[in-house]
């Protein structure tokens, strides 16, 4: 369970450009909830993810994971329980290392990075099997550098790598935004499959309202640091994309977008 309590976040604090993004913001995400987060630019979606992952500090408030306060835990230590996929496909992989080396790196997460061989030969079969589930033929290109793969292939690998070791939370930061519609669809279905298989608690930021409605069991619409729509389970199932679109237009018009 992730709990955000009384979050305050300002940008340019103490200057004339000061902007209050979150003011006494609260959010609780239950285990195995798959939350889709939508909202216009600057509504605080990515800031929300960054605060949970520890990439940016809070001005006030606290973040709890399973009841334990992690507000001051450094980013890299939080990542032990978190898998994160970014908008930019190249952030999730090492371009100058081979597919096999990337898989082995991801597989070592949570284990000591010591002087044992980087690639465990006995695991190669498993890696191939995993790559095979992507259906992109990457299992036959184990010794190809990831840098030469397409964005979609890299993003598929990034998703696979970030969920390979046992994690509890999956953070998806517009992870289909840089992909063509068909590839985005494939990545989305793959995401859903992995989330269900591994029973992950997931937060997905997206600009695609249809994905937000179709996938997950809770939907948040963010506007100026507040959740203007928050519905889960049956309430979400009965949601109509037109309602979301209307609501979205409403808040956009308010901002003059």
């Amino acid at each position: 369970m992730i709990e955000l309590k009384n979050i305050n976040k300002y940008y340019n604090h103490g200057t004339v450009n000061e902007m209050c993004l979150f003011h006494n913001f609260d959010l609780t995400i239950k285990d195995q909830q798959f939350v889709s987060v939508v909202g216009s630019n600057g509504s605080g979606k990515t800031s929300l993810l960054n605060m949970i992952c520890g990439s940016i500090p809070l001005d006030n408030g606290s973040i709890l994971i399973n009841g334990a306060d992690i507000t001051n835990m450094p980013e890299y230590r939080r990542q032990r329980r978190i898998g994160r996929v970014y908008q930019n496909p190249s952030v999730g992989t090492c371009p100058n290392m081979t597919i096999l080396e990337n898989m082995a790196l991801a597989d070592t997460k949570g284990k000591p990075f010591n002087l044992l061989p980087g690639t465990n030969k006995q695991r190669i079969g498993y890696y191939k099997e995993q790559l095979h589930t992507l259906g992109l033929g990457l299992e036959d290109k184990l010794h190809v550098k990831v840098g030469v793969l397409s964005g979609g292939q890299r993003q598929a690998m990034a998703l696979l790598m970030s969920t390979m070791t046992p994690i509890q939370f999956l953070i998806l930061d517009e992870h289909t935004a840089a992909l063509d519609p068909k590839t985005a669809e494939i990545i989305m279905q793959l995401t859903d499959k992995i989330v269900k298989e591994k029973q992950l608690t997931t937060i997905m930021v997206t600009h695609n309202l249809r994905y937000a409605v179709d996938y997950g069991n809770r939907l948040l619409m963010m506007h100026q640091g507040n959740a203007v729509v928050d519905c889960a389970e049956e309430e979400k199932d009965s949601l109509d994309i037109n309602f979301i679109l209307e609501k979205f237009n409403e808040i956009s018009v308010e901002c003059g977008n």
Partner: protein, 292 residues
């Protein structure tokens, strides 16, 4: 013949250091100037230990460890105190100048009659007098190959993978729940350890320590790395570490050629720089690294 042997000798000595620069410059993408201080640091430690009767071979290990410690300091300044990479190196390099003088005692220390890895009873027994001209080259080649082998093996370990990852994509290292700052410190430690090891070998071969021996080390190191990696970029079966060693010898040959063609020995640093510039400019147009 003696020119060729000279090229091989110096090329191989600097190859050890260049393997370290390869880690910082190519793998970590960190322009580490501290090698200008750690190369002579290795030399200073070596003269002091050898004049105290210490085993020459063991001296190499001590030099490596002390150089690695200096590298940790550069890393600490950069990672923990958040000073920019170039400046961290300059700070350590400058500080080491005084440290080196303290360690060695004075600016110039000869030890021609002492036992070294090149001059001892075992070497004299192994190599007949007829081979005396090439003895140094053989010993140097063995050292370089051992260092290369260990480095190659290290880069294939989990820790080595992480080191390569931090230069490739820092965010991924964070995603792997590892502190990327610590990984950089480890890389700098290995690189500066190798620079100090090279300094130790250099001194043992020359038979003296000189405070200015480190000036321009980084330029030589970078030139070696860039020549090697550019030249063999398209040749798949040549490992980068091998390429760096060959690059070191080629670079030294170019410098020797310039001197042979009439330049003065005092022009050495000028030649070093101009050649490096030429290499940089020549390799500029064909920069096609796999982009992140």
């Amino acid at each position: 013949m003696s020119i060729i042997l000279g090229v091989l000798e110096e090329g191989l000595v600097y190859a050890i250091m260049a393997l370290g620069v390869y880690i910082t410059y190519k793998i970590l993408d960190f322009p580490d100037l501290s090698v200008d201080g750690t190369f002579p640091l290795g030399g200073a430690v070596t003269v002091t230990l050898i004049l105290a009767g210490f085993n020459p071979l063991a001296t190499l290990f001590v030099a490596f460890v002390i150089g690695a410690l200096a590298g940790c300091i550069t890393g600490f300044i950069h990672v923990k105190l958040k000073v920019r990479d170039l400046l961290s190196g300059i700070i350590v390099m400058t500080a080491l100048y005084s440290v080196n003088l303290r360690v060695a005692g004075k600016a110039n220390v000869p030890f021609f009659n002492a036992n070294t890895i090149f001059e001892n009873s075992l070497v004299n027994r192994l190599f007949p007098a007829s081979l005396s001209a090439v003895t140094a080259v053989i010993i140097l080649a063995v050292i370089v190959l051992v260092v290369k082998f260990i480095l190659d093996q290290y880069l294939k370990t989990r820790s080595g993978y992480l080191l390569r990852a931090v230069g490739d994509n820092e965010t991924l290292v964070t995603s792997l729940a590892k502190d990327r700052g610590m990984v950089k410190i480890v890389g700098l430690a290995i690189a500066n350890g190798l620079a100090a090891l090279a300094g130790s070998v250099y001194c043992q071969q020359k038979g003296f320590f000189e405070i200015s021996m480190g000036t321009g080390t980084i330029v030589i190191g970078l030139a070696n790395v860039i020549i090697g990696t550019k030249l063999f970029k398209r040749v798949g079966f040549v490992k980068s570490t091998t390429a760096v060693i060959i690059g070191s010898i080629i670079y030294k040959a170019c410098v020797s050629l310039a001197i042979y063609l009439g330049m003065e020995a005092s022009d050495l640093k000028l030649i070093t720089s101009v050649l490096f510039l030429a290499i940089l400019v020549l390799s500029n147009g064909r920069e096609k690294k796999v982009k992140a």
